[in-house]
């Protein structure tokens, strides 16, 4: 079987996979990084979103062998080694942007890519449009949008601390 070597969350990783193995299977079953979820078989739900070479992609829509030499970041790679959450994770917690949590890893990965690509800042409407590839069955999206709007201020250095959610 072919061997694929790549960087996952800053560490080298390699695995023997079949050609047909999907990136999400490599992450979940070979590397045991089960934070990346699978919610559909049509590439629609976005639960599986990770970053490959800096861009958000659906890991159910890419073969593992296509990631030879690539830099992959998953939800497990966001928090600092001391456990400090990424501002986007912190904002999802503060703004109650999850209920069952199934969509959350993909939502957070998509949201970070969206914010990073838009240093000018995003309106609520632009955030909603940027999240069209991620489905959530629980929250109604409202708090997800609020969380991302708050997190972008921290990520762009506009504020030092995450604005608190209103009581």
């Amino acid at each position: 079987m072919p061997k694929v070597s790549l960087t996952v969350n800053g560490k080298p990783a390699s695995a023997e996979v079949e050609n047909r193995t999907l990136l999400v299977e490599l992450l979940r079953e070979h590397l045991r990084l089960t934070g990346t979820h699978v919610g559909c078989d049509t590439s629609q739900c976005g639960a599986c979103v990770v970053h490959v070479n800096g861009a958000s992609v659906k890991s159910c829509t890419m073969l593992a062998v296509q990631c030879e030499g690539a830099e992959v970041v998953t939800i497990e790679g966001l928090a600092a080694p001391d456990g400090t959450l990424h501002p986007m994770q912190e904002a999802f917690r503060e703004y109650h942007a999850l209920q069952c949590g199934f969509c959350t890893p993909g939502m957070v990965m998509s949201a970070i890519d969206l914010v990073q690509r838009n240093p000018q800042g995003l309106s609520d409407r632009e955030i909603r449009e940027g999240l069209e590839g991620n489905l959530c069955r629980c929250t109604g999206y409202h708090n997800i949008v609020r969380a991302i709007a708050a997190a972008q201020q921290v990520m762009h250095g506009k504020v030092k601390e995450l604005p608190r959610a209103a009581e």
Binding site: S43, V57, K58, M62, Q66, S110, E132
Partner: protein
């Protein structure tokens, strides 16, 4: 186990196809969802490492869109108003992650009747560039798309680029689509239009194509002819102009609904061109 090849040059890629059948893959966004249960059992040829297949270039004759150019590349490229329609299509293909991976070439080769790229290429008068070990040939997009999931691509050929000729004078493109929701759905109807204008604002020539209402997107020649020498105006479109369409009834809508929606979108496209 399946054979997987990821060449870095076009020469290696066409040599591999000349040696035997292989399914090309680019973004994989059409290939994998269709197969995720029965994972691909054929030999694969991954085109994503061939740098020469990706990117948009321009010269005096026109523009060349490499087949592996992604929808995100189109959104981020500096392009004239002629490509406003193509950019609008790019922004609404499947959401950001699909735009990051999905390519122009994959969209065209997949030849879905509802592919959002196809009507745009017809409106832009585009040609495809096909390469094989035997050489390169050019084909107008209308001759490339043969039917539902059927193209004129031979199994030993790779689509290398889509070329758009440079129009004279001011030109603009428009694209509108109707789906049950804005993203992540297959278009019920799509309309692409491109017009070249005289200095006084009248239309010198126009091409209007409708997608998802026939096995391949089709142009509306009667309407295109009527527009010449006039100012764009929604009132110029008549129900009889839609004669080339052959819409079907399916879960997304009935044939008569599609016809009705197509006329509405064509009129909106004309209103857009008039602005």
């Amino acid at each position: 186990m399946t054979g997987y090849l990821r060449p870095a040059t076009l020469d290696e890629a066409v040599a591999a196809l000349a040696a035997g059948p292989r399914t090309p893959i680019a973004g994989g966004t059409d290939v994998y969802p269709a197969r995720i249960v029965a994972a691909p059992d054929e030999d694969l040829l991954d085109l994503t490492a061939i740098a020469a297949l990706r990117g948009i270039t321009a010269d005096a004759a026109g523009w060349r869109f490499g087949a592996a150019t992604t929808w995100t590349d189109v959104i981020e490229a500096a392009l004239p108003p002629l490509f406003d329609g193509l950019k609008a299509a790019a922004r609404e293909v499947g959401g950001v992650q699909i735009q990051n991976a999905g390519t122009l070439g994959g969209n065209l080769c997949n030849a879905s009747p509802a592919a959002d790229g196809a009507p745009n290429w017809l409106a832009l008068d585009a040609e495809v560039e096909l390469a094989s070990a035997a050489g390169t040939r050019l084909l107008p997009v209308c001759d490339f798309l043969l039917g539902n999931r059927r193209t004129a691509r031979r199994p030993d050929e790779i689509l290398t680029a889509i070329r758009v000729p440079r129009p004279e004078g001011r030109a603009r493109g428009v694209f509108l689509k109707l789906g049950a929701r804005r993203y992540l759905v297959i278009s019920i109807v799509s309309v692409a239009a491109a017009a070249q204008f005289e200095a006084d604002g009248r239309i010198a020539s126009a091409r209007i194509a409708v997608g998802a209402c026939s096995p391949v997107p089709v142009r509306l020649p009667a309407l295109e002819a009527r527009l010449v020498g006039r100012r764009a105006d929604p009132a110029l479109a008549e129900p009889a102009d839609l004669a080339p369409l052959a819409p079907i009834d399916d879960v997304r809508g009935t044939a008569s609904y599609r016809r009705d929606a197509a006329l509405t979108l064509v009129r909106r496209a004309l209103a857009e061109l008039a602005r």
